[in-house]
């Protein structure tokens, strides 16, 4: 193939006049980490609540959680982001929509992406938590009830400690997915890792290197995430307990 491979261009001044290409890419890398981790924390908190609600015996909460999960898990993330960013301000009363559109640009983009990504990921987290709870023998919950625990106490002391341990491995995959999913941010102009590598690829005339850089970046994130989750898994293991 007739291609001029060179990594040196990364350190040359960028055509945008804002430092070198490697600075641009690192900037994108930073956005990817920031939005993904924040969205993950929100999604974790909200998703756990939803997952628990899905296992409750009947009630409004359970129906809401089920509807929510189906709605957010079964529509493409890209479509959801489009709705939040382009359609929502048109549906709101005009004054509200205009406020949204004229607020600080980057803040508006970041908030929209965080909202979209965490609501979407929460639905995924909820399913993993629900599966974790469902995989426990029903006797666990009933035994807790028999011992006089209320619903909240049964979940808090008996069901959830076991369910979380079971849900950890699938949650690790979900964590990795958040980082990859965060690439949708570029569709509304927030230049994260994928967005900046596309930009750099166009400006520098070195598309392969730019995308290789992004690949290595995502790989690094995934490896670190897997490593951290593995430590958490090992630390939270109850010695002598059999994994169900």
């Amino acid at each position: 193939m007739n291609y001029d491979w060179s990594w040196r261009f990364l350190f040359g001044p960028s055509l945008t006049g804002e430092g070198s290409y490697v600075v641009m890419l690192m900037h994108g890398f930073g956005w990817t980490i920031l939005i993904s981790l924040t969205a993950w924390l929100i999604a974790l908190a909200f998703g756990i609540a939803l997952g628990v609600a899905r296992t409750l015996p009947r009630g409004v909460l359970r129906r809401f959680a089920t509807l929510y999960v189906h709605l957010f898990r079964n529509t493409p993330l890209l479509v959801q982001l489009f709705l939040w960013y382009f359609v929502l301000p048109e549906w709101l009363p005009k004054a509200w929509g205009d406020t949204l559109k004229s607020m600080n640009l980057v803040l508006n983009q970041v908030l929209t992406v965080l909202l979209c990504l965490s609501l979407y990921t929460a639905a995924k987290v909820a399913e993993h938590v629900r599966a974790g709870i469902a995989s426990l023998p029903a006797g666990q919950y009933r035994a807790a009830q028999a011992l006089g625990f209320g619903v909240i106490a049964s979940y808090r002391h008996v069901v959830l400690p076991q369910a979380f341990r079971i849900a950890l491995p699938p949650l690790t995959s979900e964590l990795m997915n958040v980082f990859k999913n965060s690439a949708v941010a570029m569709t509304i102009g927030l230049m994260e890792l994928t967005g900046t590598s596309r930009q750099v690829s166009e400006f520098s005339g070195h598309p392969f290197e730019a995308f290789a850089f992004a690949t290595l970046g995502y790989m690094l994130i995934a490896l670190v995430a897997a490593r951290v989750m593995r430590v958490i898994e090992a630390r939270s293991r109850i010695s002598g307990a059999t994994q169900t």
Binding site: K101, H206, E209
Partner: protein, 308 residues
Amino acid sequence: MISHRAPDSLSTWRAAILIAVIALLVSCGKPPPKEISTLDKIRTTGVITLGIRETSVPFSYLDDAQQQAGYAWEIANRVATAVKRDLKLDTLAIHTFVVTPQTRIPLVANQTVDLECSSTTHDRERERQVGFSSSFYLTGPRMLVRRDSPVRDWSDLRGKRAVVSSGTTAELALRKLDRERGLDIEIMLAKDIGENFMTVETGRAAASVQDDVILYSNIARARDPSAWQVVGAPLMREAYACMLRKGDVPFKRLVDATIAEMARSGELMQLYTKYFASSLAVKGGVRIDQPLSDDMRELLRQPNDRID
């Protein structure tokens, strides 16, 4: 019992580092430059592969009947005919390959696509990876604004928001203008042509900055074309050309000769009229209606591969 401290955790790291190192080594080792002749390849295989776009109206696109059409697509076909005549082939199969702005350069460089004629700007950075034919179209970034907008020229953008597609030459030109004239423009980035227009249509930006031909085709497809207009002098001159393998002199000569012949015979001007001043079979019929600039008139008379 399953051990949680999985024994493979260290080897995963080793494998990942190994892959990264191999990738780096492969990419650093420069292969000896070898002459790639597109014409030889076509002679041996009996096939020419043309890069096409799906929505680059009016350059290369699928029309309402799902047929490939476009100003640049027709030029690419004339080149294929010329290749067949030049190589004295009995039959020449024309294969097409859909490309996007992100894939077109790698696909030409790695020989998947022999010739890519669409809306690709010929610029210095790209010359490092690929070669370019004579230009067949001249354009430049201008502004799309609402007819009732106070923005009439670049200086009116002071302190306002303008949207531009990220990674384009228009983005660079706009940043340069902003820096040099201290206009304090708030630059919004859009991923693609569609998002770009939507941003200005929903009032998030005061102006959309793109190559003027894209602006005219956006107006043609807008819900209310009369609400929009194109203003401002072009920020720079951009030349669209066919992309081919870098350093392939005989093939470039043939492509250039074909375009020059089309200019001489007046065919290029006919194609211009057909695609830029008549109704196109897209979305039930749109007209680009772009006035012919003096630069463009000159190019249609005497095609060249000059840039800036």
